[in-house]
């Protein structure tokens, strides 16, 4: 990806800027949520939201994360930003373990990683003016004060394609697409290097989605940003991502370059997922793998390979062994006993 040596990245120390060093690295990242039941509210079960996820995100790239609802993709995004604390495993930002940082150091690092939320209606405080919303981060991080804040807010509004006059108005005066632009401006205010975009276009109308996707691509190119792009819409991910991680029941089951994943999906789940997407072309008749059954609840993850009860190719061993994410010989990584030796 282009733009790795941007103005933003250029200001960081040289040691952090080794070209191939990942900006984000997770090692065995796991999050279990206790389910409380009964009179005393004792945990009776664990929801295994994210299970042993190890991946790297390189500077300037977009890593897409896809999967169905409940697969843990949003939890993964929040763990990486340490908006949630992991049950086990580590997250490294530019080589520094986020779990070991003190509050002040963490706050400083937070400036460099931001999030854009799915729902532009509930993620903006309805009582704050847009200018205050966007400028809040600048004040919290003491980046600007007084007139500088207003100047920077104007600059950000222009960058995301909103009129400067928007600063004096309230979120409810804007449409969904415009609100998402406000959310993006708010994230960009503190000049982050890395942004988690959690389903940023799924709440928007079709004709507006394209505007926001293009905006995200433009600012990535101009500012040299790195994205973790979470979505359930595979065609949007195909459009925007460089590499894609497919998640199922908390685990990454396939991690590959975009072209590899979409032209020759390897994991049986990836294949089924891709074939299930309706294509806007009535002449296209594809081989569809219709999966039977529902996604099991993450509080009752099946033994062995979590996909085996729905897998059309499952063999006996799949019931017992948990497959490791490994290279089947073509550079990608797949967690499937049938694909990897």
């Amino acid at each position: 990806m282009q733009g790795t040596k941007s103005v933003v990245a250029g200001r960081r120390s040289m040691a952090e800027n080794t070209p191939d060093a990942p900006i984000i690295e997770t090692k065995g990242l796991t999050k279990h949520f206790p389910v409380n039941r009964g009179v005393w509210g004792k945990p009776t079960a664990q929801v295994r939201a994210v299970e042993a996820v190890s991946l790297q995100i390189l500077p300037g790239e977009t890593l897409g994360v896809v999967g169905e609802s409940g697969c843990g993709k949003t939890t993964l995004g929040r763990l990486i930003l340490r908006l949630l604390d992991a049950t086990s495993g580590e997250v490294y930002f530019r080589g520094r373990n986020l779990g070991e940082l003190e509050a002040r150091e963490l706050r400083n690092l937070r400036r460099r990683m931001q999030i854009v939320f799915q729902d532009p209606y509930s993620s903006l405080n309805p009582r704050m003016r847009v200018g205050t919303l966007i400028g809040e981060g600048l004040k919290v991080h003491r980046i600007a004060r007084g007139r500088e804040v207003a100047d920077r807010v104007e600059q950000l509004l222009t960058m995301v394609g909103l009129p400067v006059s928007a600063a004096a108005r309230f979120p409810h005066e804007f449409s969904g697409g415009q609100r998402q632009r406000i959310g993006i401006a708010r994230a960009l205010a503190v000049e982050p290097e890395f942004i988690v975009a959690d389903e940023p276009v799924s709440a928007l109308d079709v004709s507006v989605q394209a505007q926001i996707v293009n905006l995200l691509q433009d600012i990535q190119r101009d500012l040299g940003l790195t994205y973790l792009f979470i979505a359930h819409d595979l065609s949007v991910v195909r459009h925007i991502a460089d590499r894609v991680a497919v998640m199922y029941l908390g685990r990454v089951v396939e991690l590959a370059s975009r072209d590899q994943l979409f032209s020759s999906p390897s994991h049986p789940y990836t294949r089924a997922l891709l074939s299930a997407v309706p294509v806007p072309d009535p002449m296209a008749r594809r081989q569809r793998v219709v999966l039977t059954g529902d996604v099991p609840s993450p509080s009752r993850v099946p033994s062995g390979c979590p996909f085996h009860p729905r897998c059309p190719e499952a063999i006996d061993a799949c019931r017992r062994e948990v497959p490791e994410l490994a290279d089947p010989g073509d550079g990608r990584r797949v967690a499937c006993l049938l694909r990897t030796p």
């Binding site: 169905e68 609802s69 449409s175 697409g177 415009q178 109308d205 079709v206 004709s207 507006v208 989605q209 394209a210 505007q211 996707v213 293009n214 691509q217 359930h232 595979l234 065609s235 949007v236 195909r238 459009h239 979409f262 089924a272 997922l273 891709l274 074939s275 299930a276 997407v277 309706p278 294509v279 806007p280 072309d281 009535p282 002449m283 296209a284 569809r288 219709v290 999966l291 039977t292 529902d294 996604v295």
Partner: protein, 327 residues
């Protein structure tokens, strides 16, 4: 797909408006279409284009401040808008049934699934509770719910989203309706579950030979299930054609823009095409052609005069004075 020459459902010049503080909003303004037995018509558009209000109008379920202003809704030749409320109640769920987008909020949380499926059967066909329960089990089996004998006594919260949508379909189909209105039936579901539900609907349509009005914003879903498509924008149908024609040669700039703005799963686009601006509110539809403020082909005349749906090809109508466009 089609066999009967006369349509089972015909909507003529339907107008539904809402009185709000900002003035009268014509959510549906002069919509006409027809539907034959065994056929699926896709009604496509973005939020606020009037597609759901069209569906609710057919069943006369528009709640105040909404009001059906004019038009005819002919079901096998009988105008539903002229029926008394008790007569209309006999039509709903029996001859015309509907499935809604959000299965969790449209099912009653305090009644078992079997009770809700049986309710429609008992209301329209009479019979004992026991018979209704048996019919409910039969319907649940038909829509592919595993172990229906147990599930019939379960409550909606005990089921997954896909299973709840199957229960909704079972309720809708329990009285063998002639027309099924499906309002975004798969929007709340994951793609693998969506594939299951769409396949189920297609299978049941063949078996029961009903007409389906499929309302969706997803052009992919339309391409997959519909025989014909009507595209709505700002309360009006702007283009209607067979599915093959619409996707091969879209004529209205809005349809073309919509098709160009979605990323494709196969094929590479450097940049997505964009329709500038946003969908107008029903209380402030633009003068003249309602799409002109967002249209790249708009000229002075587009702003001056309202457009009518006109034939541009056999079975292909478009509401645009610049059509047909090349390419």
């Amino acid at each position: 797909m089609t066999e009967a020459a006369t349509p089972i459902l015909e909507v003529r010049d339907l107008c539904t408006s809402f009185h709000t503080d900002e003035g009268e909003g014509r959510a549906v303004d002069g919509v006409s279409f027809h539907l034959k037995r065994g056929e699926t018509l896709g009604l496509v558009g973005e939020s606020g284009c009037g597609k759901s209000v069209t569906a609710l109008s057919i069943l006369r379920l528009v709640a105040p401040p909404g009001r059906i202003g004019s038009g005819q809704i002919l079901l096998s030749g009988r105008d539903l808008l002229a029926l008394s409320e008790p007569d209309m109640r006999r039509v709903r769920g029996d001859e015309v049934a509907m499935i809604f987008q959000e299965p969790m909020s449209s099912l009653n949380p305090v009644l078992t699934c079997g009770c809700q499926i049986g309710e429609a059967v008992r209301l329209h066909q009479g019979g004992s509770r026991k018979e209704a329960k048996e019919r409910a089990i039969e319907m649940m089996r038909l829509v592919g719910i595993p172990a229906p004998e147990q599930r019939v006594d379960e409550f909606p919260h005990q089921l997954s989203g896909g299973m709840r949508q199957r229960v909704m379909i079972a309720i809708a189909l329990s009285c063998n309706p002639d027309v099924l209105i499906a309002d975004e039936p798969t929007t709340a579901l994951d793609v693998t579950i969506q594939a299951q539900i769409l396949e189920l609907l297609a299978h049941l349509q063949q078996e029961l030979h009903m007409a389906i009005l499929m309302i969706t914003h997803d052009l992919g879903v339309v391409a997959e299930v519909a025989d014909r498509v009507a595209v709505m924008y700002a309360g009006q149908i702007v283009e209607t054609a067979t599915t093959a024609d619409l996707f091969a040669a879209p004529q209205h700039p809005y349809t073309r823009g919509l098709l160009a703005s979605i990323p494709h799963l196969d094929g590479d686009q450097e940049r997505l095409e964009v329709i500038p601006g946003r969908v107008p509110e029903a209380t402030s539809f633009p003068q003249g052609c309602r799409f002109h403020p967002r249209c790249s082909l708009a000229e002075a005349a587009c702003k001056a005069t309202a457009q009518h749906l006109e034939n541009c090809d056999a079975g292909h109508q478009v509401r645009c004075r610049r059509a047909p466009v090349d390419g």
